[in-house]
Symmetry: C2
Subunit: 352 residues, 2 copies
DNA sequence: CTGAAAGCGCTTACAG
DNA sequence: CTGAAAGCGCTTACAG
């Protein structure tokens, strides 16, 4: 194939001339319109190839008033749950011909507002938003006024009228807590209390309701406020271990915190699962490779990302379709940090 | 502020009319040109605000032939090193008025080629590329023919004429290996051999050269091929532990592999640092929270990302500036997985 | 199934 | 310091 000296500079007009058709026809061919006769389409495609033609999306976007980019604004990429979600979403978008404009807000709502404006200027076709903590709910109204289709993920904006894909945080934490109860624990702590984070509120509710349903009294010194990081998990369990009356098990808000917890337990010469049971939530890949491997609740990060993309693209196509609110079903993954293996061993006849 | 019914639909012409100036002047104001009298600029800005004006980047891109998006194509976001790098780069780009078009290739060169084409169509102003394994070196030529400024990160394309930001992998692994030698080890394994990954080749060289310089014979059964994942690290150490003649220490290609190694060691009831020493490379955040905490070589992921953005933006401004090739200096971070704490304890007078 | 024409909203010389 | 004019490369009714 001989590339023209103008490689990359050819326009639709050049193709039209080379192929002996009008530029309208070229445009139709480039967009795979069924209106064009196959033979003509072939001629056009060959000419485009020969000229080293590159489609100019800026021109198309200007003309159409929208683009083939989708904005993805994520609160915390240091939490691999969101990275896994991003990977799922990005792949799915790509398969549908969209490309991802990414921004990481790091839970900074000022920054979030700034990047959203920027993405509006880019004429993003839609937005997948994992809102930063403390995002004002009016953001939903703003986005609608902008006419930007969006779906919120994991955290909602408390807006009835917008699409949301999340996980059943309440059932998830209940599953985890009940598992500890089933293993015989009654002294169960919760790390990650934060009354201004709706997800934390729900997870704490799941923990407390589970205890109540099992007639276990809630012991408030065992409910520890914590930011969402490994380091803060570490600090929280340290406080718990320093208590005169220690819990025998701990439910963590998420895996990130649980990983910090496991680390500190190890540092203190203790063994999670034997000396104290630990469960997390989210089911990040890393959880399976902790020491000991972390019992957690899989929230299906990739699936959430894929679903969010899919729902968004449907919303883009059809703004008037019914609102989608979907909570994925959590799934308990039992590993060793909860001590389930030790217990079953001591119950088996061949236990030493 | 009263928003017009046309919120978001106003153009530069509407502003011009409202402010009583020409649209050229409006354009200059929007681009913060110093040519416009402050008073005029103020009038224009007020009018824009009042009309709910949104800058249309598609139009600007079409006219200018370039955009304010920067493409970032990353080989492996399941490795948090690259996530950290991405975070650093994205933040820096945002500060400079650029927004990030992201794609995750997952080491798939077909997919990589596809997304690069797509980013070309978007008229990305530049590209930060962490190339997929086995990327043909001709990619550098292609990108140049496209006229797309780019900088490769971590892995180079073996092209003298293009910018590259990486880490001194050779010195890094040497640092790690020498640390084990200093602790008294002579039976040191290497996990992560891959002769078709240039980074692995260099790291293995660092390991081997360090042994040689210390007059330690290289024992090839202790050099284990492995893919770059936690699971593959797990499998590799299992093979090593099954050997009749086991090594007493192991250098891992990177932290991802090391995390898998630590997990398997724990699963076998052994303790890293006491029963076998482990060191990683990269210095991901997670390394500090392993059990035991992982001794590793910090390669400064955020810094690499920031530097890559900075160099790219300079390249965009000045295509003829001298080529930049920069290797960041690695830094050993001693934690417990290498057993340094145990050794120093046994050397201290108050050891039990 | 194909062509001629208008226009998307900017920026950029150029003239004053 | 400001204005009039041209044009970036597409898509989309519309007419045939």
């Amino acid at each position: 194939m001989v590339l023209s000296a103008q490689d990359g500079k050819a326009t639709i007009m050049d193709i039209a001339r080379a192929a002996g058709v009008s530029k309208s026809t070229v445009s139709l061919v480039l967009n795979n319109s069924p209106l064009v006769k196959p033979l003509t389409a072939e001629k056009v495609k060959n000419a485009a190839e020969k000229l080293g033609y590159v489609y100019n999306r800026s021109a198309a976007s200007l003309r159409q008033g929208t683009s083939n980019v989708v904005a993805m604004v994520v609160n915390d990429l240091t939490n691999s749950f969101f990275v896994e979600l991003l990977i799922g979403a990005e792949r799915k978008l790509l398969e549908s011909g969209f490309i991802t404009l990414l921004s990481h807000t790091g839970e900074d709502i000022k920054l979030q507002a700034q990047v959203l404006s920027s993405m509006r200027e880019q004429k993003a076709a839609g937005l997948i938003l994992c809102p930063a903590l403390y995002t004002p709910p009016e953001l939903a109204i703003t986005l609608k006024k902008w006419g930007m289709p969006f779906v919120t993920v994991m955290r909602s904006l408390n807006d009835e009228e917008s699409d949301f894909i999340g996980c059943d945080n309440y059932q998830g934490i209940k599953l985890a807590t009940q598992h500890l109860v089933n293993l015989g624990h009654t002294d169960i702590a919760f790390i990650g209390r934060n009354r201004t984070n709706s997800v934390s509120v729900v997870r704490q509710d799941g923990y407390e309701d589970c205890l109540r349903e099992n007639n276990i009294r809630i012991h408030s010194p065992w409910i520890i406020a914590s930011k969402i990081s490994m380091q803060d998990g570490k600090v929280a369990i340290r406080r718990l271990l320093a208590l005169k009356k220690r819990p025998t098990a701990v439910v963590c808000y998420n895996d990130l915190i649980a990983i910090g917890v496991l680390n500190e337990i190890g540092e203190q010469g203790l063994t999670a699962g034997r000396d104290i049971a630990v469960v997390g939530s989210d089911g990040v890949a890393m959880a399976g490779f902790c020491n000991p491997p972390l019992t957690t609740v899989a929230l299906h990060s990739h699936k959430v990302g894929e679903l969010a993309s899919q729902i968004l693209l449907e919303r883009v196509k059809n703004p008037d379709a019914p609102v989608v609110k979907q909570l994925l079903k959590p799934e308990l993954i039992v590993r060793k940090s909860c001590g389930a293996d030790i217990q079953s061993k001591s119950l088996s006849p061949d236990a030493s």
